[in-house]
């Protein structure tokens, strides 16, 4: 149905540079997630695509055609707002019908389309209610239906699940993926929730302070973070970062520890580095191929697993362990590191070192 590509988007609000050269290419039919913390410029990017934001610089192409100056209506897009933005004086039916009415569809067409989309979203019994009579989850579905009632070039979704409670959010995650699969269509989905990004996306763009940090599949972003910041932002518990440098065959930590140099890196000696290891690649149960020694700092039982905080020097490592693990704070521990899955970042630039050797 549609490709969306934006090039060099810049937008400032007074002193704040919301977008600083954002370039993204959303392929036709993709579930494309824009991920970033609040204030990263995700929503502004989406609003720029929608034509709701006047840009300082940059261009928006829809289906390979320059749409930078087009009105929102002319762009043929649909959007789900974080606040849902349901028209308060209209019934759910009229809210959903609004995009069709604006395009002067006959009332039989409208009725058919609304019926179809409301059965897709299981909201048939809500159609005569007004937004004030709907719960948060129901409003969310109606807002979604208003977007899905048409087949626009692309669907834009601005944190549509953020205002739902956890249970509903998990449900709707699955539901949205199902809808995307059954409808096809290009989805541009903005969220600050990395779980949503990793579980739903075909492609993820990670945004920080108006700049794109990395674009890739969820696996790429998780397994090969482009820089230290992406590594820290994506993944829970947070990746552990340790200052170190290479000396010959060894990786020497600022805290005094020594590990074998990962085979895949060819970095020169003495360059200040950060070793990044995810919790699941660390173990207190003798796995992996290298060890660090530290002391038990705390236990965080999470039901299916326990996160063990281990203090190495002044740094706390997050280690994923079996739920049965026990220990007393202060106890000496040996943490094994799976160096094949670890990451090295340049300590100055934060950029990931080439992992081509892997």
């Amino acid at each position: 149905m549609g490709t969306v590509s934006v090039h060099g988007l810049c937008k400032s609000f007074g002193e704040v540079q919301a977008l600083d050269g954002v370039t993204l290419d959303v392929p036709d039919g993709a579930f494309f997630v824009v991920l970033g913390p609040s204030g990263a410029g995700k929503t502004t990017t989406l609003r720029a695509i929608a034509g709701l934001e006047k840009l300082d610089a940059g261009s928006v192409h829809l289906d390979e055609r320059d749409a930078t100056g087009d009105t929102p209506a002319a762009r043929d897009l649909a959007m789900v707002f974080q606040s849902y933005a349901l028209y308060p004086r209209h019934t759910a039916y009229e809210n959903i019908a609004s995009p069709l009415r604006a395009r002067r569809c006959s009332s039989s067409e409208v009725a058919a389309a609304v019926e179809q989309v409301s059965s897709l979203l299981h909201i048939e019994r809500l159609l005569q209610r007004r937004p004030a009579q709907l719960s948060g989850g129901e409003m969310q579905r109606v807002a979604l239906a208003r977007a899905l009632v048409r087949r626009p070039r692309a669907f834009l979704m601005d944190e549509p699940l953020t205002n739902l409670d956890l249970k509903l959010r998990v449900e709707m995650r699955t539901e949205l993926t199902r809808i995307h699969r059954s409808l096809g269509g290009t989805f541009v989905y903005v969220t600050n929730d990395q779980v949503e990004a990793l579980s739903m996306a075909d492609q993820v763009a990670v945004l920080k302070e108006g700049k794109v940090q990395q674009v890739g599949t969820p696996t790429e972003v998780y397994e090969r973070p482009a820089n230290q910041w992406v590594a820290g932002f994506v993944g829970s518990p947070r990746i552990s970062l340790l200052a170190c440098h290479v000396e010959g065959d060894r990786l020497v930590g600022a805290e005094g520890w020594t590990l074998p140099r990962p085979r895949w890196t060819t970095v020169e000696d003495g360059r200040p580095l950060l070793l990044g290891v995810r919790a699941e690649d660390l173990s207190v149960e003798q796995r992996g191929n290298a060890s660090l020694s530290g002391e038990l700092y705390g236990l965080e039982p999470l039901g299916d697993r326990t996160v063990v905080d281990v203090r190495v020097g002044t740094k706390i490592l997050k280690v994923k362990a079996r739920p049965t693990v026990t220990g007393t704070p202060g106890e000496r521990l040996l943490v094994t590191v799976d160096l094949d899955r670890a990451h090295l970042f340049d300590a100055d630039t934060g950029l990931a070192l080439s992992e081509a050797g892997r």
Partner: protein, 303 residues
């Protein structure tokens, strides 16, 4: 109309319906409060009561000394005199009341039609020096009418607007537009801009989005604002007395004032025409009573 305006107003942005907390308890304080309020009410309302009484007294009782508070004969002759002249046709006063209706009505409609879209624009769009523009708009109301009436008189004389209804309509509109913009901006600010964003993505133009989705939500605010503008135009005296002279054009305030003077004053007629003049304002003020205080402070002051 009456009911719908009131209902609509109650749906407006006035959210705080809680009564002000009473800081000091005790029965004695309550009694004192009631006593104080009674005294104030009597002081404030006595002239009104006296006006109403005078309007229904026979002339003999109007001039009676000592004044008669209760024991007088009721008559509606004065009210008849307001509308019907002694020779049987329409009275001069009734013409001036009609003029007031036209001038106040048209200027209010104009101020609303001009002010509401302006308020929407100031609320929604990023404009250069927006605060300065808004301040400038407000500043046109800083000066009391008396200060500007002479230059306006001179300008009006040049363009032939002296002693015309159009002249009064224009000057009242000019005074009401800034007020409408400021008050309506408060109401527009309360309506999320996302409704319009959503409507534009639905396929409407920006103006359609405003017209179809925002404007209906503004109706309570518009009603309240228009009533304020109407009351201003209705009550306005200074411009009316300076800029109009003939009985055909004159509005009610100067016409009623004109009844006083000369050798004898028909106080019964003055009182009756004052009552007639006060009734519309009372009705409209009742309709927007919730907004008389809250509307002004919330709509215009809060940013």
């Amino acid at each position: 109309m009456a009911v719908s305006v009131d209902d609509a107003v109650s749906a407006g942005p006035v959210r705080d319906h809680t009564p002000p907390a009473r800081r000091f308890g005790g029965r004695g304080r309550a009694v004192l409060e009631v006593a104080l309020l009674t005294v104030l009410a009597v002081v404030m309302l006595f002239p009104v009561l006296w006006m109403v009484e005078t309007s229904i007294k026979e002339n003999r009782d109007v001039y009676a000394i000592p004044a008669k508070f209760f024991d007088f004969k009721v008559t509606v002759d004065h009210f008849k005199d307001v509308f019907v002249s002694s020779s049987g046709g329409r009275s001069g006063l009734s013409v001036s009341f009609l003029n007031s209706v036209v001038v106040a009505g048209v200027s209010t409609v104009l101020a609303t039609v001009l002010g509401v879209p302006a308020a929407w624009a100031y609320s929604r769009f990023a404009l250069k020096a927006k605060k300065d523009q808004l301040f400038f708009i407000l500043s046109t109301r800083f000066m009391p009418p008396v200060v500007v009436v002479i230059p306006i008189f001179l300008m009006y004389r040049q363009v032939g607007l002296i002693d015309t209804q159009l002249g009064l309509i224009l000057i009242y509109t000019a005074f009401n537009v800034p007020f409408t913009i400021w008050m309506m901006k408060g109401f527009v600010d309360e309506v999320p801009a996302e409704y319009e964003d959503a409507a534009m993505l639905d396929g409407y133009t920006r103006l359609q989005a405003f017209w179809k989705f925002t404007l209906p939500l503004l109706v309570p605010g518009i009603a309240a604002t228009a009533v304020f503008a109407l009351i201003f135009s209705w009550n306005e005296f200074v411009f009316a007395i300076f800029l109009t002279s003939s009985d055909d054009v004159r509005t009610a305030p100067p016409a009623i004032a004109g009844l006083i003077g000369g050798t004898t004053v028909d106080w019964g007629l003055v009182a009756a025409s004052s009552v007639v003049f006060a009734v519309p304002v009372l009705v409209f003020a009742y309709l927007v009573r919730r907004h008389l205080v809250a509307g002004v402070t919330l709509g215009a002051v809060r940013r």
